[in-house]
Amino acid sequence: MKIHVRMFGRFKHQFGDWREVDVPEGNTPLDVLKEVVATNPEGYMAIFDDQNRIRNHIILMLNRKRISFADCSSVILHDTDELALLPPVAGG
């Protein structure tokens, strides 16, 4: 299945605006994130800490809704889902 991954803020400059990731059925957002950073060690460190946990300040959205880190490893993705990776917001 194909998952549309969007990046914002500094992540856009690090990974590109978006990419389509082809992953097996049953994959979770966490699986997709690991796929995105698989060939980018610097990018891995930007998203995961040294315990391989998603860094606390990162915001994840699935189909434009915020998801928790717990959901990240338990929600099952579906074909054409949109996963977004957001750095801490700084508007206003």
Binding site: F8, G9, H57, I59, A84, P87, P88, A90, G91, G92
Partner: protein
Amino acid sequence: MEDRDSGGRIALTGDDFDSGAYIKSAKRRTTGAIVTFVGVVRDDDIESIEIEAYEKVAQGDLYEIRDEAVAKYDLQEVTIVHRVGNLQVGDNILLIVVSAGHRKQAFSGCEFILERIKERAPIWKREILSDGDRWVKGNHEYA
């Protein structure tokens, strides 16, 4: 992206705004106070600033923030205009205009909206320098 149905305006836009027009339109017969906040690009040794947003989500968040503020502080009219794109020093970034029956509601409502935007709306700023650029640190970010 914008909405004018509520009387006020909720928008993410590249265009500048006329705060005076929104202040005027916020007034009702029962209005006792109008509070306005205008965020401006400050010269922190920058050449310009680039503001980007996850626009559909940010737009939805601005609606939710407006609705929360109206319910919490009994506001009458609310306008929120957040600019995106490349802005120069001195340019307007954000306009918040709220009207209410009394000043405390208007002040509190305006501050609530500003703080909620800063903590929630997916908007980012990148400062363009003479020798590169830097992302403005998030409000809930730590090293």
